[in-house]
């Protein structure tokens, strides 16, 4: 937004804020935008994110919101494409006048919409945008979704602990997915660093349903370990088909497989997948127990990573707003100043979230620093209908 346009907007919002202050402003909920994919092919992720965010909204408001003042989430569908994400952002920034935005769901969408937040100077938080380059979009763009650099090698090491004779590795990834593409680069580097032999790299598409060609190529390469970077549905189908066609070795799944949603697809065949996790439902902490409890109560299963990250996104903003309010009361700030200060506070803070303790790097601003990372193995019940993650390390 240009200065010329911004200034009238600022004046208008300033007046609005002042008027609001006169009529019991403190009770007005603080608007926080949530723009994730509620329509289009990415909606699977988006719907889980909405659930997580909604739980956070209730949970934190029940605990007094922002120092006694409630906040409310404004949902604007960011769709599954770049243009819709930008339109949602513009709506959040200029119409709903939110203090901060959570989302969009895809890294590519953040590359498109992020600069709009940078120009409007309001903090936005990626909750599932893991491609490299997200915090570099600019000041005001942060994320709570860890790029896989640390977790991925750990998963391979865990596999090597289980099977000491691993030498030959096949890597498969969804080539049309930015997250998988970023993740596989990390995995492939880790394979080389660990002096394993990368015998073949096979690609697929997230929209694929048949993987027999890739499975045949994989089996021909006689691997000891298979590493898969994909999203939940394609990833789980690939696992299923690998197992059905008699692959017996270990499987390491990327972060895309870190969801209970894969269980209905690969059922008993999910057993034994090692998953590099940015979130684990097994992580023990007060906040995660609370979150997991509410989620399980509603959905009768463990929360998936997308929901946990969305919850975390809301939590981070709420706590940052609270901390900021204690330094200088936010009710007295105009919207523009509040947004800028909130961003500073956001990056300065440390948060105890369901993902574990997180904070942000100062450079590049907004990159997540996540204390915990997990490698877990899926243990399926004998019936093959339910299963759980068991920590490996």
């Amino acid at each position: 937004m240009s200065r010329r346009l911004a200034s009238p907007v600022t004046i208008v919002s300033l007046i609005a804020v002042l008027c609001g202050a006169l009529v019991g402003h403190a009770a007005d909920p603080i608007p926080i935008g949530v723009s994730v994919a509620q329509t289009g092919p990415v909606a699977l992720a988006g719907q889980e994110q909405v659930l997580g965010a909604q739980i956070a909204e209730e949970y934190f408001n029940k605990r007094g919101g922002v120092n006694g003042r409630p906040f409310k989430l404004i949902f604007q569908d960011a769709g599954s494409d770049e243009a819709t994400a930008i339109n949602a952002y513009q709506n959040q920034i200029n119409v709903a006048k939110v203090v901060a935005i959570i989302g969009p769901s895809l890294s590519q969408q953040m590359f498109a919409a992020g600069p709009f937040a940078v120009r409007a100077k309001l903090p936005v938080l990626g909750i599932s945008t893991t491609a490299k380059g997200i915090p570099q979009v600019g000041e005001f763009v942060s994320r709570v979704s860890a790029p896989v650099a640390i977790v991925a090698p750990n998963a391979i090491k865990a596999a090597m602990d289980i099977n000491k004779n691993i030498k030959r590795v096949v890597v498969l990834y969804a080539q049309n997915d930015a997250f998988s593409k970023s993740e596989t680069e990390t995995f492939q580097q880790a394979v080389k660093d660990l002096h394993l032999e990368l015998v073949t790299v096979q690609t697929f598409q997230t929209t694929d349903t048949d993987f027999t060609a890739q499975v045949t190529n994989t089996l021909n390469a006689k691997p000891d370990l298979v590493i898969i970077s994909g999203l939940q549905v394609d990833g789980a189908n690939l696992v299923k088909q690998l197992r059905e066609l008699a692959y017996k070795g270990l499987i390491v799944g990327g972060n895309g497989l870190n969801t209970t949603n894969i269980i209905p697809i690969c059922k008993a065949l999910c057993d034994g997948i090692l998953v590099a996790q940015a979130y684990s439902p097994e992580y023990k902490s007060k906040i995660n127990d609370d979150f997991k409890g509410i989620y399980k109560d509603r959905q009768k299963k463990d929360p998936p990573q997308f929901s946990a990250q969305a919850f975390t996104g809301v939590q981070v903003f709420v706590e940052a707003l609270g901390a900021l309010d204690k330094k200088s009361p936010i009710a007295k700030m105009d919207l523009a100043a509040l947004r800028v200060e909130l961003n500073k506070q956001l990056i300065a803070g440390t948060y105890d979230t369901p993902l574990g303790e997180i904070s942000f790097k100062a450079s590049p601003g907004g990159e997540i620093v996540q204390k915990q990372s997990y490698v877990a193995q899926i243990k399926m019940d004998p019936g093959g209908t339910s299963g759980k993650w068991v920590y490996v390390k």
């Binding site: 346009l5 569908d77 709903a96 590519q108 600069p115 709009f116 120009r119 380059g133």
Partner: protein, 314 residues
């Protein structure tokens, strides 16, 4: 008004760009050729601009120079034109649905190539495309002239000998051939100009949406363009322009309506979550109630005549 512009600057420019892109599909359709190749050239143009502006000219502080954007647009036009001829000459021997399918294949092949090349950044694409303007609305200074130029071109074309030849081809290729219209030449011409327009729009769009990747300019885009042209009206260049403007705005308008206060909660909720259901139904209904599109030459004639002689119109 400034508040409106701030909220909808992106949408307004998108609408104009969609209208231009719709014209790129309309031109071959003037000659009766349903080509869905435009998204491919659009994608190509976007990659050209994104690569030039992020890799050839290293990013510098401040705004990206507008002349360089114009240069990228020119490069995109030339590249799309050349590719247009290469693809067009063999493909335009096909007619009807076969041409549509061949061009869909062309777009898919380009998509897979862009997923595999290093220079295009695979699925992640190219990001951080520099901005030539401080505000999105300033993109209008390029988008509007582009639209006007394309409309003028289309308007002139419709009245020219070439335009009549194209229409003759649409009505009856054999007859047109017999009349001395060289079908291949005119079809390739219309196709190539359409390709160049799409490439130019792509180049501008890469800056406009800050990033470019293999999800831009796919089959889905082609489908939208086809809806723009046919719902808008495929017998005059005004049709695609109106179609592009209206249909781009429609989903966002539905979002806006949902935000208007006073609606019952369930209705607002449905408008928000079911936006695309309504959009789809409206497209289907549009074809039923406007079988020749929203804008037809007859309508334009009536509007024009109505202003002059009401009596004659009767």
């Amino acid at each position: 008004m400034p508040a409106f512009l701030a909220a909808y600057d992106f949408l307004l420019v998108s609408m104009v760009l969609a209208a231009v892109l719709a014209l790129s599909l309309y031109l071959p359709l003037m000659a009766g050729q349903l080509s869905l190749a435009s998204p491919g050239f659009y994608a190509l143009g976007g990659y050209i601009a994104a690569i030039i502006s992020t890799k050839v000219f290293p990013p510098a502080a401040g705004l990206y120079p507008v002349p360089l954007v114009l240069l990228e647009m020119a490069v995109a036009a030339v590249a799309s034109g050349v590719l247009g001829v290469i693809v067009g000459v063999p493909a335009l021997r096909l007619r009807g649905i076969f041409l549509a399918l061949a061009t869909i294949a062309f777009v898919e092949i380009l998509r897979v190539i862009s997923l595999n090349l290093d220079v295009t950044g695979g699925a992640i694409g190219i990001f951080g495309v520099p901005q030539p303007f401080a505000s999105q609305i300033h993109y209008m200074s390029l988008a509007i002239p582009l639209l006007v130029l394309c409309m003028l071109f289309a308007a002139r074309l419709e009245r020219s000998r070439t335009g009549r030849a194209l229409v003759a081809l649409r009505e009856d290729e054999l007859a047109a051939d017999a009349m001395g219209v060289n079908p291949t030449r005119y079809k390739v011409l219309a196709f190539t100009v359409g390709a160049m327009i799409a490439g130019v729009v792509g180049a501008l769009s890469a800056h406009f949406i800050n990033t470019w990747n293999s999800r831009q300019g796919t089959f889905d885009t082609g489908v939208s363009l086809m809806a723009f042209v046919l719902i808008g009206g495929s017998r005059t260049f005004v049709g695609p322009v109106v179609g592009g403007l209206v249909l781009t705005a429609l989903p966002e308008a539905l979002r806006g309506i949902a935000d208007v206060g006073g609606l019952p909660g369930w209705l607002a909720q449905f408008l928000r979550d079911g936006r695309l259901i309504i959009f789809g139904v409206m497209i289907a209904l549009g074809t039923v109630f406007f079988p020749h599109g929203l804008i037809t030459p007859a309508l334009l004639e009536r509007l024009g005549r109505g202003r002059r002689h009401r009596v004659e119109a009767a």
